[in-house]
């Protein structure tokens, strides 16, 4: 334990409004703390530079899963366990269920929130690939009001997002109708559980006969932020997955994905491995469309 807890302050304003008022009054001074599965690790290892924290873990206003005809709205305070337990999300957004089950352990899933996972903004985060592939939008809230934007616009660069110092993530809204899409998601980590992503790929594709009528893909650990693989999507749109065309489609897809990939060597894995496996996952997905 490498921090002196006496040097940190944590308070828990009773309502969302009270939290937003405080964030607006002193923007940048306070750091929101939800489940703690990131910030408390930083505290334990002596890396928590923010000394004034606001607990938002108790806010019922942020912890919901609301199902509407066109979208499922997930509050930023929903835990991974909440997501896994949602029958509607299981029915409509299976890739999100899968992502939530990858994250750490049951004990961490019980505490980790969707908002925290998104705001920590690690390129290796588990939920963004599915959210990107599903075309989610994200709603931010402050004392001044709310704003909603496509989730693809949320991440700017390495751990930098559009979130203002006075804002919280309110919710993520995910369109529901993917019943005629093939869905794929795979995470490659250092082991089967309790693993940070070396690379993950979420993919959806709708076929029109043998041709790809629509395709969306989100990836983790391919660049400095969660990546919507637009170059690969653009190349693959309209391509044929018929047996005689598959090799060419795969080649084109791999090349396009490589063009938007900037993997790195780090303590866990290598750039070459990540790039190679990303291409392999894409190929695995594309070949599965043939059947």
């Amino acid at each position: 334990m490498r921090s002196d807890v006496a040097q940190f302050d944590l308070s828990a304003p009773a309502t969302l409004d009270a939290v937003l008022t405080q964030l607006a009054a002193e923007p940048g001074k306070h750091t929101p703390l939800a489940g703690g599965t990131e910030l408390m690790v930083a505290l334990n290892t002596g890396r928590l530079t923010q000394h004034s924290l606001l607990s938002i873990q108790h806010l019922k206003e942020l912890r919901f899963i609301r199902v509407q005809p066109d979208a499922i709205h997930i509050g930023s305070g929903a835990t991974f366990t909440n997501i896994r337990n949602s029958a509607e999300i299981a029915a409509d957004l299976p890739l999100l269920i899968e992502s939530a089950s990858w994250t750490g352990t049951i004990a961490n899933q019980n505490r980790a929130t969707l908002g925290g996972n998104i705001c920590n903004a690690s390129p290796a985060a588990d939920t963004p690939p599915a959210l990107l592939a599903y075309g989610a939008s994200i709603t931010l809230i402050s004392a001044a009001g709310t704003r909603t934007l496509p989730y693809t616009e949320f991440h700017l660069s390495y751990k930098k997002t559009v979130l203002r110092p006075d804002e919280l993530v309110h919710s993520v809204s995910v369109p529901r109708d993917f019943s005629d899409y093939r869905q794929y998601i795979r995470k490659v980590g250092t082991r089967n559980a309790l693993a940070i992503s070396k690379i993950a790929l979420a993919a959806l594709a709708k076929l029109d006969g043998d041709h790809i009528a629509d395709i969306r893909m989100g990836a983790a650990s391919l660049t400095d932020r969660p990546l919507r693989c637009s170059a690969a999507e653009a190349t693959l749109l309209g391509k044929s997955v018929d047996a005689k065309d598959m090799d060419a489609t795969v080649r084109a897809g791999r090349a396009a994905l490589a063009s938007e990939t900037h993997t790195i060597d780090d303590i866990r894995s290598t750039a070459k491995y990540r790039s190679a496996v990303a291409g392999n996952l894409l190929e695995e997905f594309l070949r599965s469309l043939a059947s």
Binding site: A12, M40, N44, T45, S55, S101, T105
Partner: protein
């Protein structure tokens, strides 16, 4: 300092405590409940696992302020008046505990698992306990202990 009021193993507790103090340290130092262990301080090993409002959590990652108004169950709360809980009995009989340092967290994770899945498949057991690292057993005796506890209807 913040006032934190909670129930621990059925007993009400009232503490004046730094709000960012870890639940783990609150239990071990302020309440003298040393059954919950620290193995890593990162939420990786599960040795610090407790039940918070019935949910399994790693207490090294929970700040004290957030348990205000909550109910916590530690390993000390699993047995009743010195009578072993069936899960504890099974771990004892089946070799589920070797050095014992992961055992409190492992037993709470088992408790939590059987609560959700009274008749778990091996896969569910593996997933349920994946957040509790054991370096001694290779997990086989632990799986057997859990399966035996499930057979006894241990919940």
């Amino acid at each position: 300092m913040s006032l934190v009021q909670l129930t621990v193993n059925g007993k009400p507790q009232r503490l004046d405590i730094p709000p960012m103090k870890r639940l783990l340290d609150m239990l071990r130092h302020d309440l003298g409940l040393t059954g919950t262990k620290e193995g890593c301080g990162e939420g990786e090993c599960g040795a610090c696992a407790v039940l918070l409002d019935g949910e399994l959590v790693n207490s090294c990652l929970v700040p004290a302020l957030q348990v205000n108004g909550s109910s916590v169950c530690t390993i000390e709360g699993v047995s009743t008046e010195g009578q072993l809980h069936p899960i504890q009995q099974c771990f004892l009989e089946r070799g589920g505990a070797q050095c014992g340092i992961c055992t409190p967290g492992m037993i709470l994770a088992t408790h939590h698992l059987l609560d959700k899945h009274p008749n778990p498949t091996l896969e569910q057991i593996q997933e349920g306990l994946a957040g509790n690292l054991c370096r001694c057993t290779g997990y086989m005796r632990i799986f057997e202990s859990v399966q035996e506890a499930a057979k006894l209807g241990a919940i």
